[in-house]
Amino acid sequence: MAAKTLTIDDKHLSAEEGATLLQAAKEAGITLPTLCHLEGIYDVGACRLCLVEVKGLTKLVPACTTRVAEGMEVLTNSERLRKYRRMTLELLFAERNHICAVCVANGHCELQTLAYSLGMDHVRYEYRTPRWGVDHTHRLFGMDHNRCVLCSRCVRACWHVEGAGTKNVSGRGARAHIITDLNQPWGEADSCTACGKCVQACPTGALFHKGATVGEMVRDRHRLEFLVTARQKKEWITD
């Protein structure tokens, strides 16, 4: 496979053809904030936190879904980007009801970690405080829409790792939300195998093990990565 040469933040580097800017940046030791990206699952560019500037393009592009190209000049940490990232993050917080202090994911939440790392000490937008409910019908897991950021990691894990296809996104705009099967209570979704991969994939406290209390949702992301790698390398197939 041909290699492409490009610069990221004035750093000259080469990356494999077909690699994303996010992968190239990571290999070069440059960290980008991400939320909808999850190792082992394909990217959709939903959260817009990994936006970068590419010379010659007026629009900002998500690093997770943009492929490297020869001679690309990329900036990942400009004043403009910092401004937008902070704004995006604040909008995520303002959109639903994120109350870290009493959340099952407190201390283990990617949204919370991003807020700390990007120095978000307050939200400039008015909180929408929507009235979302909690789906507590499943035997093992709960889904709290109040804490959902619509990253769709659970949907992708469900369809493309487990292959069950239980989870989906319904509605548009502020009404968009995660559903199970044909918008049935999770406990009544026949396709769900109760594998828990969606719970492992969730970056916030939106999906949780029932009975978990404050800060108890510690996830092991490597399990998903392990499953995907094993499948790609056919580690489970013997002659």
Binding site: G133, H136, K210, T213, V214
Partner: protein
């Protein structure tokens, strides 16, 4: 022409409140009302949440007694799951509650109330606070602060943090006592015990010189309620409810937490966000009862630990049948600190607290669960109703301060009647006595304290037509008036 004197806010209590005094034409106080002006809304916004989250949410009601809500909430969860929690978990919860008693009672006694009776009622208000106490007796103030810290440290050792530990859960607790934690507590215990002895000595001197306060600070017949063990021993976390009357007679006993609606009614008044519970068989307001240290010591027959039992005998001699003066809440608080330290000492010898079998697991087996636990201020009820999936449909919280609401009204009225008679101008020192009537109960209005600094005071003179005839405001930022009174008639 009747007038109303307003004390707003009441200071050196935990939260925001004001007092109205209604004065008749002759200048005598006719009645008094204690208003809690905070609105919190926990009962409403918790609806729809999983019950398992409640021990994480409800402690946020308060930064002083989060442990009380934590434990009552976890117990309500136990009841919904219909489980008996592992014995080690029960002991650990008790240890944390005892630590909570120590820290909260120390705060009430040393930081909030002692400046009044140790420094003197007529001390200039700028000094009548914990800093004044430090100036007058540094060693004592330090010991008091350290005693509170001791309780806080135990809470941190068990729950990982001093305030709002999310440690107790439906079915048990999340982590045990560690051997290192146990040694830290053991090392500090003698100092805490010595501080309580000092406090008892001070209290004896105080009592000898405060007979007038003893007679007039909320000294009236009422019922008393608290948890007791089956044999009548003082309880703080387990046990069942007992009511006694002002003669010390038991009028209701061994009532299960879940049956509280058969003995407690709740009245809502327009003048306050605080509900006013009453003893149902006697009706409102005749069913007035008190909770908290004074009530717990009145309803129990023994403390169950030797040194506190010896003090309890002395305490009971101060009343006939029951001890009815609310000024003695302070004394009762000291006895409870002593008892808590003795129980903590016992737990240090119990290896079961190091156990790792701490959490029972179960689904939804009851649609309703009531958790009752003694908070430092009095009996606390958490009453949850859930749907079949464990989401809350109804939440009812009955807090200690609410149960003392009627008694606090009567106390401030009694003090005001005694000290405020036919005066044109009312000195601030007299109004402070009225406020102290509230401090006796150590009410927890679930917010920050005003323990430090100048007393922000807002007094209005309101005529029968609701016009403000006179008004004096002294806030945190306003300069202190040169002459003493910050009050007007």
């Amino acid at each position: 022409m009747a007038t109303r004197i307003l004390i707003d806010p009441v200071t050196r209590i935990e939260g925001h409140a004001k007092i109205s005094l209604f004065v008749d034409d002759a200048g005598n106080v006719e009645d008094a009302e204690f208003h809690v002006v905070e609105f919190r809304g926990f009962e409403k916004f918790c609806e729809g949440r999983p019950y398992t989250e409640m021990p994480g949410i409800t402690p946020r009601i308060c930064g002083i007694c989060p442990v009380s809500h934590l434990l009552a909430s976890a117990k309500a969860g136990d009841a919904i799951m219909a489980v008996e929690i592992p014995p080690a978990a029960d002991k650990l919860r008790r240890l944390m509650n005892l630590a909570q008693f120590v820290q909260s009672h120390a705060l009430s006694f040393f930081h909030l109330s002692a400046p009044d009776f140790l420094l003197g009622w007529d001390t200039p208000q700028a000094q009548r606070n914990v800093f004044g106490l430090i100036g007058a007796n540094k060693a004592l103030a330090r010991a008091g602060i350290r005693l509170r810290q001791f309780g806080q440290e135990i809470i941190e050792i068990l729950g990982g943090r001093k305030i709002h530990p999310a440690w107790a859960v439906p079915g048990g607790v999340r982590s045990p006592l560690t051997p290192e934690g146990r040694e830290r507590i053991r090392h500090w215990l003698p100092e805490a015990q010595a501080t309580v002895q000092t406090a008892f000595t001070l209290w004896e001197q105080t009592l000898a010189t405060h007979q007038r306060e003893l007679e007039t600070f909320g000294n009236f017949p009422s019922l008393f309620m608290g948890l007791v063990a089956e044999d009548g021993t003082w309880e703080h976390h387990g046990g069942k409810l007992r009511f006694t009357d002002s003669h010390g007679r038991v009028i209701a006993d061994q009532i299960d937490a879940g049956n509280y609606p058969t003995v407690i009614g709740e009245s809502v008044q327009t003048s306050s966000y605080l509900k006013s519970p009453y003893y149902l068989p006697l009706g409102f307001p005749a069913g007035i009862y008190r909770v908290g240290p004074l009530a717990r010591l009145n309803v129990c027959s023994q403390m169950g630990v030797p040194r506190a039992d010896a003090e309890l005998v002395k305490f009971k001699r101060l009343g006939q049948g029951a001890v009815t003066s609310s000024f003695l809440y302070h004394y009762a608080r000291l006895i409870e600190i002593l008892a808590a330290l003795e129980y903590i000492e016992r737990y240090l010898e119990d290896d079961e607290l190091l156990s790792s079998e701490l959490r029972a697991d179960a689904g939804i087996n009851n649609r309703r669960g009531v958790g009752v636990s003694e908070a430092p201020r009095g009996t606390l009820f958490h009453d949850y109703t859930v749907d079949r999936n464990g989401l809350l449909q109804k939440v009812n919280l009955i807090v200690a301060t609410g149960q003392n609401n009627l008694a606090m009204n009567r106390t401030v009225a009694q003090i005001a009647r005694h000290y405020i008679q036919g005066r044109g101008k009312i000195p601030e020192q007299l109004l402070n006595r009225v406020e102290h009537g509230i401090r006796c109960y150590d009410p927890c209005l679930s917010c920050s304290t005003h323990a430090v600094g100048r007393m922000p005071l807002h007094v209005q003179l309101i005529g029968p037509d609701h016009t403000i005839l006179d008004e004096v405001t002294r806030g945190d930022d306003a300069p202190l008036p040169a002459a003493a009174p910050g009050a007007a008639t």
